[in-house]
């Protein structure tokens, strides 16, 4: 039962990760990777006794052995079939990542205002830059999957934004493979220079019957006055397990608008850790979590106000139907000295089925008194007063209900400034809701 015992007798999964580690050739990042791996091995996989893993059971996963996912040839994937998020809309570029390996065309390295490089190549040419974004693991680090990613990623994307960019950049992550029990550790580093701005959409899809376990990490560093609108959209298959984390480090007066949208996948664990580490940094986080069929969605947001006058807004909408389970676990930490921090969380859950479940944990940890922090969370059914109002105007029940479901999601959708992405997300989302036909009419 105890955590100690679980780690001492390492699970099959942990042993297989260790084997991967031992088979890796040393690179310039080795010391940081070594620390991360040792720390991971010390911690092992999380159990439900771990407060941030309370609602997600990884025992089935832990009992499996994993091998490195194939470095698939580009010809083996059909991005067109799944590449619907931006449709024909203008974009800066579409970058393809297959099982964590970027396939960069030579001309893509030189988009105006952005440098795009493979992490593997950079680790040979310019490891010092990468090391700026790979902090050594500390004894307090509990982020097991991020540690594992740091130790084991084989390649990835490094994006340096140097100027304000208008058109969005799409990163299409494809998980693919036909052998069972593969694992990939995709890594993306977004380095936004002072005063730059960009929109980056990460779209995660899966192909094939045995998509690998994905343990992805995106590290975002926003320098002074940088602005970023970042999307991560999970649209993988019902068999897929995806563990993803986004870390955001925000410097003075930077602004980040982050959208987490879960529309697919069997088990999706999506973590957001934002550190508002300099004065005036500001974050708007939006989560749209759709539980459908047997999906398990576990979303964790940890926002740390580490400096004065930092601001955060979190808006989460969770819908659970069928046998799904949706978890929204958010924590706002205000450090001592972060005076005039301003934080709001709004989380609403809508349960549409007697066999579904929504778990919500809107947490506050406040160590400063000169702050404004509030949160509100509700879970339940559609508001009966709203429903009655619409019925009393002659709308039929199904229409009224669909309208309310749609309105429920609107708070997140209306925040999206990339209209093509927004409408693609709406389309995908509606198809997973009851009365999809009716909902389409409202658009």
């Amino acid at each position: 039962m105890s955590a100690a015992r679980q780690t001492s007798s390492a699970s099959a999964a942990v042993r297989s990760f260790e084997a991967q580690w031992q088979a890796r050739a040393a690179d310039a990042l080795r010391p940081v990777r070594e620390q991360a791996m040792q720390r991971f091995l010390k911690l092992g996989l999380p159990s439900q006794r771990d407060e941030t893993w309370r609602y997600t059971d990884l025992r089935a996963l832990a009992s499996q052995s994993f091998v490195d996912a194939q470095h698939e040839a580009l010809g083996d994937v059909q991005p067109d079939a799944v590449q619907s998020l931006l449709d024909g809309a203008p974009r800066a570029a579409t970058l393809l990542m297959v099982n964590g390996f970027p396939s960069l065309q030579p001309q893509q390295a030189a988009i105006d205002g952005m440098e795009i490089q493979s992490i593997r190549e950079m680790s040979v040419r310019d490891p010092a830059v990468l090391l700026r974004f790979l902090a050594p693991a500390s004894d307090a680090d509990q982020r097991r999957w991020v540690l594992l990613n740091t130790a084991l990623f084989r390649d990835g994307l490094y994006l340096k934004i140097t100027r304000p960019l208008t058109a969005p950049l799409l990163i299409l992550h494809v998980a693919t493979g036909d052998g069972a029990n593969a694992v990939a550790h995709p890594r993306v580093i977004i380095d936004a220079c002072p005063g730059s701005s960009a929109t980056i959409i990460e779209h995660h899809v899966a192909q094939g019957a045995h998509a690998p376990l994905i343990n992805s990490n995106t590290h975002i560093a926003l320098a002074r006055d940088a602005r970023l609108e970042h999307y991560r959209v999970f649209a993988t298959t019902a068999a897929a397990t995806h563990i993803d984390s986004v870390d955001i480090q925000q410097d003075q007066s930077s602004h980040c608008k982050q959208f987490t949208v879960v529309l697919g996948g069997g088990l999706v664990r999506a973590t957001l850790e934002a550190n508002l580490r300099q004065p005036g940094a500001s974050l708007d986080s939006y989560s749209l979590l759709v539980g459908h069929e047997n999906r398990h969605v576990d979303c964790v947001n940890i926002v740390t106000h580490g400096a004065p006058r930092t601001r955060s807004r979190q808006t989460a909408r969770a819908i659970a139907s069928d046998h799904s389970r949706v978890i929204f676990n958010s924590k706002v930490i205000v450090n001592a000295g972060a005076i005039n921090a301003d934080s709001q969380q709004s989380c609403r859950g809508l349960l549409l089925s007697p066999t579904a479940e929504i778990d919500t944990r809107p947490q506050l940890e406040i160590h400063a008194d000169e702050v404004k922090c509030a949160h509100g969370a509700t879970t339940g059914r559609l508001d009966p007063d709203m429903l009655f109002y619409m019925l009393s105007r002659g709308l039929d029940r199904a229409t009224a209900q669909s309208l309310l479901v749609y309105a429920f999601l609107a708070d997140v959708l209306t925040g999206m400034s990339v209209t093509a992405a927004r409408s693609a997300i709406e389309n995908a989302l509606i198809s997973q809701l009851p009365d999809a036909q009716l909902l389409r009419k409202f658009r």
Binding site: E51, I366, D369, C373, G380, R381
Partner: protein
């Protein structure tokens, strides 16, 4: 800004008022814990076999358990072999038959505490059971209550006089295996209070127990069991104090409430265990399991607590809402000053249809204290139409304290509604200035603002306690605004 704050800081100089030690001969077991100690406690109390077996079962399970670590509190490891598990005032007679036989020093102690065991009790109209260290020393108004059919006595008396009721209900809400501290309590509990209200009876007066830890190096492990039979109702108050000692003392109580059909139980606590000094030395570890079960339909259990004392508080008075239409309530004011740590809240487990719960938590942090609200609202698939409303507000006084809100909302029924609201604030300089400008002293202004913040909870307290709670609050917040 700072000059005003300093005024406020300077104004409250009151110290812990209940920190005296009573010089009284006590009969204690030496420190240490094994099966023999468990058996010795049972033997001293002349218990029937079933209870000894029950204790031993709990003890054996406890030995397999690990002390929990999930709470947001930090303390040095407790050496469970360095605690005396039994300490009773040595009376000339085995047990006092009436107040006249109670050791006069003890009565004096309760006088000092302002707890009316004598004449004043009659005036106040509150029946009191006083527990000194581990043993119930006096219960007032027994006769008047028994005329109404209400049983209100020490737990030991209940074991002797009503063994069948005890056997039936003991551990039926908090099983011996429930958690580390509940298991420990089940093994070694020494005394406590017992209440049974028969069907259809409204208990004619408020019932009250005052707990006092006196002896050094003792733990207090009392057990309270309250049963309201069908259609019965009772209001029960609990107060606690302890002397000032440099070492930490452990208090691990278990309270079980059972409400049958249409029964109502109101349980109020004013907890003022010694909190340690301003440097965090000494104080009580208050690790308590309190749980009520609305077993019958239309029943109601309401917890109200004002928590100002203890070095560490770790308690979650909970309601299991099994009966259809049953209601659970939790109203709490938790104050943590200096180096106090509080991790407190509630659990509302909705099982029955149309069950309702309300949670109102007001946390006040000052000094270097850490105050955590932790609350679980769980709606099971069977709880159609269940509703919960939770409101958690934190007030921070000073920049070195912390306030945490850790709610858990687990909803498995689509017809249920669960709502949670939380806010964090401080006493505004403008509020303070407004009061000062109107000629109100800073001390009064802070008290006014704080009691305004806590008002919704205080109004749930019985009259007798509301005033005491208000006073405690201002004492606890000494030097708090900075």
């Amino acid at each position: 800004m700072s000059s005003k704050s300093q005024d406020v800081e300077a104004l409250v100089g009151q110290k812990y008022r209940h920190g005296f030690i009573t010089d009284i001969e006590s009969d204690s077991l030496p420190p240490g814990l094994d099966e023999d100690v468990v058996a010795a406690i049972s033997k001293k109390k002349l218990e029937p076999q079933f209870l000894l077996d029950w204790r031993l079962k709990a003890f054996r399970h406890w030995q397999t358990m690990q002390e929990p670590t999930w709470a947001h509190v930090r303390y040095k490891p407790i050496d469970y072999q360095d605690i005396s598990y039994y300490s009773a005032p040595k009376s000339p007679a085995n047990a006092p038959k009436s107040l006249d036989e109670v050791d006069p020093k003890l009565l004096e102690t309760y006088e000092k505490l302002g707890i009316p065991l004598h004449e004043r009790a009659r005036l106040a109209g509150v029946a009191v059971d006083a527990v000194f260290d581990s043993v119930s020393v006096a219960t007032t108004f027994k006769d008047k209550l028994s005329k109404a059919g209400v049983i209100f006595c020490s737990f030991s008396d209940a074991v002797r006089d009503h063994p069948r009721l005890v056997e039936r209900y003991l551990g039926s809400v908090v099983p011996t295996t429930d958690n580390f501290f509940a298991a420990l309590n089940s093994a070694v509990f020494s005394d406590g209070s017992f209440v049974y209200v028969p069907p259809g009876v409204r208990c004619p007066m408020e019932l009250s127990t005052y707990f006092r830890i006196n002896a050094a190096k003792t733990g207090q492990f009392e057990r309270t069991l309250i049963i309201a039979d069908e259609g019965a109702s009772v209001s029960y108050l609990e107060g606690c104090t302890a002397p000032m000692r440099d070492e930490n003392q452990l208090h691990a109580a278990v309270v079980e409430l059972v409400a049958l059909d249409r029964a109502q139980i109101k349980y109020s606590t004013v907890q003022n265990w010694y909190p340690g000094d301003e440097n965090g030395l000494g104080g009580i570890y208050n690790f308590v399991t309190k749980r009520g079960e609305c077993r019958g339909r239309d029943s109601k259990i309401s917890w109200t607590q004002v928590e100002t004392g203890s070095a560490i508080t770790w308690k979650y008075p909970s309601c299991i809402l099994k009966g259809e239409n049953s209601i659970g309530e939790f109203y709490s004011v938790a104050v943590a000053n200096n180096y106090q740590q509080a991790d407190t809240g509630t659990k509302m487990i909705h099982i029955g249809r149309n069950t309702r719960s309300t949670i109102v938590s007001k946390g006040i942090s000052a000094g270097h204290a850490e105050n955590t609200y932790r609350g679980l609202v769980k709606i099971l698939p069977s709880a159609a139409g269940a509703r919960n409303f939770t409101q958690c507000d934190s007030l921070l006084m000073g920049s070195k304290c912390a306030a945490n809100t850790f709610p858990y909302m687990e909803v498995k029924n689509p017809t249920a509604t669960v709502e949670h609201e939380a806010s964090t604030s401080k006493i505004g300089e403008d509020q303070l200035f407004y009061c000062l400008q109107r000629g109100i002293s800073a001390e009064d202004a802070v008290n006014m603002i704080v009691s305004g913040f806590c008002k919704v909870v205080f109004k749930e307290l019985p009259m007798e306690f509301a005033v005491e709670a208000q006073n405690l609050l201002s004492v606890s917040l000494e030097g708090a605004v900075g």
